[in-house]
């Protein structure tokens, strides 16, 4: 079922071989009919590769995303906040695992994907290349970054590839507390001392624009969108999701009494949407290229964990081999 090495019922296939064009047509009909594609189904190579790229990027984002908030676990300002933050970051690790699992059904191993991440050849969401200098950043990330992530993730629960869709359903269920705990932190700060209010406003100032950038480039300039939508890997465009996020989040900021750092932000009565100012795509490109404030630091942390843990992983394998050998001898 889930690894390339698995065999089917053997070499004696019960079906007649079909030509590529027919297979492609059948595949697209399934997708058009909102049927799921499962691991051993025939799929175009490009579909497989796009999925591997997208799912692994998503997985890497969860894993790297453990670091900016993990930064505050040991300094969480109350025991309750500490417990909640540990549970949240633990969830993110779990989400990475669900996604690596889904990608592994497509014929790539977790080790290969991790190697790509650590070598710097795989991408992950650029939002995690920003620092978290204050406790309020933990709140802002939960409220804005998880908020944006949820917006991206819910449509993927209906994507064409079964394992990816099912992983997303699981993730979305768990994600609901992540955003709430972030907003709760922001509320506590906004209603607190003047210093706490300033801390919250400062965090919003720093996380607002990067959160908008999370939805990716404008539709006009986005390379992958058209094909991904045909294959129902992507269900809404970048701009559609970004607009939805702004419309939902601005009233939340108003409720908090905080100001969104966009002088051009206004409500447009005609379209019933918020209009926002221009996004600095240069900053997005810089961060994507590796020149954000924390790119090197994030990857270094992951490399270090991986390197320093090598002897542990090898020891576990060595012990398991010894055990098997002993059992064989005893048998």
């Amino acid at each position: 079922m889930y690894t390339q090495g698995l065999d089917s019922l053997g070499a004696e296939a019960l079906h007649q071989p079909t030509d590529a064009a027919t297979l492609e047509q059948r595949f697209q009909s399934k997708v058009d009919a909102d049927e799921r594609i499962e691991p051993k189904d025939w799929m175009p190579d490009a579909y497989r590769h796009t999925l591997i790229r997208q799912i692994s990027q998503h997985a890497h984002s969860e894993i790297v995303g453990m670091l900016p908030e993990g930064n505050w676990i040991t300094r969480a300002p109350s025991l309750r906040r500490k417990a909640v933050l540990i549970a949240k970051v633990q969830d993110e690790g779990g989400h990475g695992m669900y996604l690596y699992s889904a990608a592994e059904t497509l014929g790539i191993s977790r080790d290969e994907m991790i190697e790509q991440l650590l070598a710097g050849t795989a991408k992950y969401s650029s939002i995690f290349n920003y620092p978290t200098p204050t406790w309020a950043d933990v709140g802002a990330i939960g409220w804005l970054v998880d908020g944006a992530a949820i917006m991206n993730q819910i449509p993927i629960c209906r994507c064409s590839y079964g394992p990816y869709a099912r992983a997303m359903v699981r993730i979305c269920k768990e994600e609901s507390f992540h955003q709430r705990q972030g907003f709760e932190i922001m509320m506590t700060l906004a209603r607190g001392t003047p210093e706490q209010f300033r801390m919250a406003q400062d965090a919003l100032n720093r996380w607002w624009w990067p959160s908008l950038m999370m939805f990716g480039p404008n539709d006009a300039t986005s390379k992958h969108t058209a094909q991904s939508m045909r294959w129902k890997i992507k269900r809404f465009t970048n701009d559609e999701l970004r607009q939805k996020f702004v419309d939902i989040t601005v009233p939340q900021a108003e409720y908090l009494g905080l100001k969104v750092p966009d002088p051009e932000l206004r409500w447009d009565e005609a379209t019933q949407h918020y209009v926002h100012g221009p996004i600095d795509w240069k900053e997005f490109e810089d961060v994507l290229k590796g020149n954000g404030p924390c790119n090197r630091q994030r990857l270094e942390a992951r490399r270090q964990a991986h390197e320093e843990g090598r002897w542990v992983r090898e020891a576990a394998l060595a012990h398991a081999e010894k055990q098997r050998a002993r059992e064989t001898r005893a048998a």
Partner: protein
């Protein structure tokens, strides 16, 4: 447990809850340092899980201690606003992680102890302590399974893993005498009949420890007469650094709600 010779005073009960709570809290803090940095994702989740269990124990116990004290101190007041010299955790738990091997050794030695302790505390005449022990015992059974499993994998894994975990064991063994030593809140609690005599736990603890060391091909280090006990407020340098980090926010913004 022997029949109460003396009625437990509030101080004895507060002291005991604080000692147990501090120990679980500091160990939870140490484990939480691993989140995002463990050798494999699965171990990240496993260590976070143990940290959350211990943190839950700490919150329960420190809340209870604050309640008994009756001066309005909450779990947070006790955790974030007490000086290192007022903490009564076992010195073993404040020792640094160093590497996964030493982390596992520290965890294993404590799990083996909590297993014995909580089993007996289930029948404590202190209902709240008995309640905590019953819940914590289930958690500890899983922690012990985890840490004992890793002691064996690392002890009987590769040459490198064996050396590292033996080194961790050699380094931490001296802190285990405190688990059974007199002079702390546990001894006072035993005299008051609400907890087992710490010295009496040693045999059962060794029964949890030695077979695992053997299977792990590890050498039990020689016992030493190490006398600096966290439960008597004689901490190593590590505690003040750990608390400086943990307490930073509340110390920097006094009176704020979080």
């Amino acid at each position: 447990m022997s029949a109460a010779a003396v009625n437990p005073t509030a101080d004895v009960r507060i002291g005991y809850a604080t000692y147990l709570g501090d120990t679980s809290l500091i160990l939870a803090q140490r484990l939480s340092e691993w989140v995002g940095h463990a050798p494999a994702l699965e171990e990240d989740l496993a260590l976070a899980n143990i940290s959350l269990d211990l943190l839950g124990q700490a919150r329960y116990l420190l809340s209870y201690a604050g309640e008994l004290e009756g001066k309005g101190r909450s779990e947070d007041t006790l955790a974030f606003l007490r000086d290192p010299s007022d903490y009564t955790n076992l010195a073993l738990v404040e020792q640094p992680n160093v590497d996964f091997g030493q982390t596992i050794v520290r965890q294993f030695l404590i799990d083996a102890w909590q297993l014995v302790l909580f089993e007996q505390l289930q029948s404590s005449t202190e209902p709240r302590v008995a309640e905590l022990a019953a819940k914590a015992l289930k958690e500890t059974r899983y922690h012990y399974r985890f840490s004992a499993g890793w002691m064996v994998r690392l002890g009987d894994g590769t040459e490198e893993s064996h050396q590292r975990v033996q080194a961790g064991l050699d380094e931490l063994w001296k802190f285990t005498s405190e688990l059974f030593a007199p002079g702390g809140a546990d001894e006072a609690a035993a005299h008051a009949g609400i907890a087992p005599d710490p010295a009496a736990l040693r045999t059962a603890w060794l029964a949890n420890v030695e077979p695992v060391l053997q299977e792990a091909t590890l050498k039990r280090p020689p016992d030493v007469n190490y006398r600096w006990f966290g439960k008597r407020r004689q901490h190593t340098d590590h505690l003040s650094h750990l608390l400086a980090e943990m307490q930073f926010m509340q110390r920097t913004y006094p009176g704020a709600q979080w």
